[in-house]
């Protein structure tokens, strides 16, 4: 037996010591918490067992991420879920784990989700579904993918879409609003343009219509003034007279609408008694009312009702209301016209009530709109443009008042009520003689020069003047007018503005520049009567501005106002 050498023994010793060292240090490392993983052999395979922490970063991600995450076994059971999923479902985590995931899906989407999860064992799939949360649901995006390992295990991610959906809806709503606003704006712009064009058209139309109306009216007046007429002729004459006045009124209305809506109409307010407005209106309407066999009741307050108002305009309003009452009430109906004083509110009230076809609740607010007719069918018995109520309301409002309609419904009659402020207590003065009152011809024979390129207009006016006993000359243009003025020395010149060549303005300016004609009364005759037109006339040197066709009363008033005759 050979004994090992010292060297060999020493080497062996060293080896042993090293191995011991290692063993000790391994144990020390383990117990001293210096290692956190071990290699373990399972069968033929090596595995690393981790004590803690290697999956911490991943675990942290799963725990903290915004989505709910779950691992589902092949039968759809949740065997792992992160806290977020429990939060989304508003259920304790312990109850989520072990539940069937599809039980948390809204019934309508359940089958779809189950199909999805079945597919997810083979490939990545996604869908949207409503998920139950307490008593409500929320929209969610589901993404499922196969997990490596046991068959049929699926990794599921659940993203809450409510915020996104809300934002989408909000964005859509804003977009819709923008589109609607843009549409409304362009519609409004289109309306404004159409409105403007309508006003322009109406102004031109009215202007054109005035030209033939002058001669017509003058002619008819002349016919009436030339002596008593045969009965048959008289009826026809009266009819013609009425119709021409209607025409004039219509044309005035046409123009007024434009003027009123542009705020251009000028009221000639005076202190008057509101009862006079009612009376005046009645005079113009008695025929319309009796023609339809209506019973008329007039109830005017016993005490005066002082107001500051334009008699002609307010009478127009009441006429409009009375004519409507007559028109929209079946034959043999009842109409009430009342004027009273409401001391409590400090207003004068004029009321027109009828027991006719009434107004539908839906129409009540619309009756005052332009061109709205309650009845645009063939049963209309009288002419009208449907501008009456719009105009009436505007005119009333210009007086600081209101015009309201009320009705109990179809066939239950209607009532229109005008309210305007009472004037401070004072005796009302009699109405100004500036309006259309026919009067006897003045005795003084005046020299009148009529300038108009329209032969009928000039000659009809001339004939009228002559009938009234005046001396009349006619001229067709500016040059002739100036020559005639020099030779004839008229006291009154009625000058059409729209002359060929030299305009009426120029003629007036020239006349004024000449000292000889400084005292002559020069009146403009024009189809335009706006503030600007009148101002322009004044600037050119006219003493006055008449709108065609000139009313007899106006002409008479002018003639009456001429100073005493001079040679």
């Amino acid at each position: 037996m050979t004994s090992p050498s010292l060297d060999e023994l020493l080497r062996e010793n060293e080896e042993l010591r090293q191995r011991l060292d290692e063993a000790e240090s391994t144990i020390r490392a383990i117990s001293g918490d210096e290692v956190d993983a071990f290699l373990v052999r399972r069968g033929s395979e090596d595995h690393v067992l981790v004590l803690d922490g290697v999956d911490r970063p991943y675990r942290l991600v799963i725990d903290q991420m915004q989505q709910g995450a779950a691992t589902l076994t092949a039968d759809g059971t949740v065997f792992f879920a992160n806290p977020r999923l429990a939060e989304l479902l508003e259920a304790p985590l312990s109850s989520v784990i072990g539940s069937r995931f599809s039980d948390h899906v809204a019934p309508a989407d359940r089958v779809g989700v189950e199909t999805l999860l079945a597919e997810a064992t083979g490939r990545n799939v996604a869908c949207e579904a409503e998920i139950l949360r307490g008593d409500e649901t929320f929209p969610a995006a589901l993404a499922a993918s196969p997990l490596l390992g046991p068959e049929g295990v699926v990794c599921l991610l659940v993203t809450d879409l409510s915020q996104r959906k809300r934002q989408e809806l909000e964005r859509e709503r804003l977009l819709e609003e923008q589109v609607a606003r843009a549409a409304a704006e362009s519609a409004a712009a289109a309306l404004r343009e159409a409105d403007r064009r309508k006003d322009e058209f109406l102004a031109i139309l009215a202007h054109e219509l005035r030209n033939p109306l002058g001669p017509l009216r003058n002619g008819i007046q002349l016919l009436g003034l030339s002596g008593p007429l045969q009965p048959e002729v008289r009826d026809t004459h009266e009819m013609m007279s009425r119709q021409v006045e209607n025409l004039v009124r219509l044309v005035d209305d046409l123009l007024d609408v434009g003027r009123v809506t542009r705020g251009v109409i000028k009221l000639r307010k005076q202190r008057i008694d509101a009862r006079l407005i009612a009376q005046r209106a009645l005079e113009s309407c008695r025929d319309s009312i009796s023609q339809r066999d209506h019973q008329l009741e007039v109830a005017l307050s016993g005490a005066p009702i002082p107001v500051e108002a334009d008699l002609v305009r307010m009478a127009q309003v009441v006429i409009n209301l009375l004519k409507n009452a007559a028109k929209f009430t079946p034959r043999g109906g009842r109409i009430l016209l009342a004027a009273e004083r409401d001391a409590e509110t400090g207003q004068a009230v004029i009321r027109v009530r009828d027991n006719g076809q009434g107004i539908e609740p839906a129409m009540l607010s619309k009756v005052f709109d332009l061109f709205v007719q309650a009845d645009s069918t063939a049963s209309r018995t009288e002419e009208g443009l449907g501008i009456g109520l719009t105009l009436s309301r505007h005119l009333t409002e210009l007086h600081g008042g209101t015009l309201r309609a009320s009705s109990a419904g179809l066939s239950r009659g209607s009532e229109f009520e005008i309210r305007i402020p009472l004037a401070a207590a004072e005796e009302p003065s009699p109405p100004h003689l500036g309006s259309a009152e026919a009067g006897p011809a003045k005795p003084l024979r005046r020299r009148v020069l009529i300038v108009d390129d329209n032969r009928d207009a000039a000659s009809s006016l001339a004939r009228l003047m002559k009938f009234w006993g005046h001396e009349v000359r006619e001229a067709r243009d500016g040059a002739t007018a100036l020559a005639a003025a020099e030779e004839f020395r008229p006291e009154l010149i009625l000058l059409d503005i729209g002359l060929p060549g030299m305009s009426g303005y120029e003629v007036a300016t020239r006349l004024r520049a000449d000292a000889r004609f400084r005292e002559v009364r020069v009146i403009a005759l024009s189809g335009y009567g706006t503030e600007q037109d009148q101002a322009r006339s004044r600037a050119a040197g006219f003493d006055g501005h008449l709108l065609k066709p000139a009313e007899l009363g106006q002409l008479e008033a002018i003639l009456a106002s001429l100073p005493s005759a001079r040679t």
């Binding site: 240090s25 290692v35 956190d36 993983a37 690393v48 004590l51 290697v54």
Partner: protein, 109 residues
């Protein structure tokens, strides 16, 4: 009087010119794996600047590689070169023990 041990050639510092090959076995990103690695780097820079090579082996990725050096606990540092192979288990926070284990410092009696 010097002990036999002190004279043991294996206690003597190895050839200073040789390039050290060090293998660090880790398990993914466990805290101790990370600690071991940073300690090792620091140590090498201080004592072996310019003449070391560190190979990191992640046993989570491939557990089989543990067989090469008979690894049991993780992390473990193995000095492949210079000879002989030395093994140090743990996160290398005890610098003294690590240096001694690597034979960069003599063992205190």
């Amino acid at each position: 009087m010097r002990t036999v041990l002190e004279e043991n050639p294996s206690d003597l510092s190895p050839d200073p010119a040789a390039v050290w090959e060090l293998r660090l076995y880790v398990a993914g990103q466990t805290p101790k794996s990370i600690t071991a690695f940073s300690n090792l780097k620091r140590l090498c820079e201080e004592h072996l600047a310019g003449r070391y090579k560190i190979e990191v082996i992640d046993l989570l990725v491939n557990p089989k590689l543990a067989r090469d050096d008979q690894i049991l606990a993780i992390p473990t540092l193995v000095r492949k070169l210079p000879d002989p192979i030395r093994r140090i288990i743990g996160d290398l926070s005890d610098t003294e023990r690590t240096l001694v284990g690597l034979q960069l410092r003599p063992r205190r009696g």
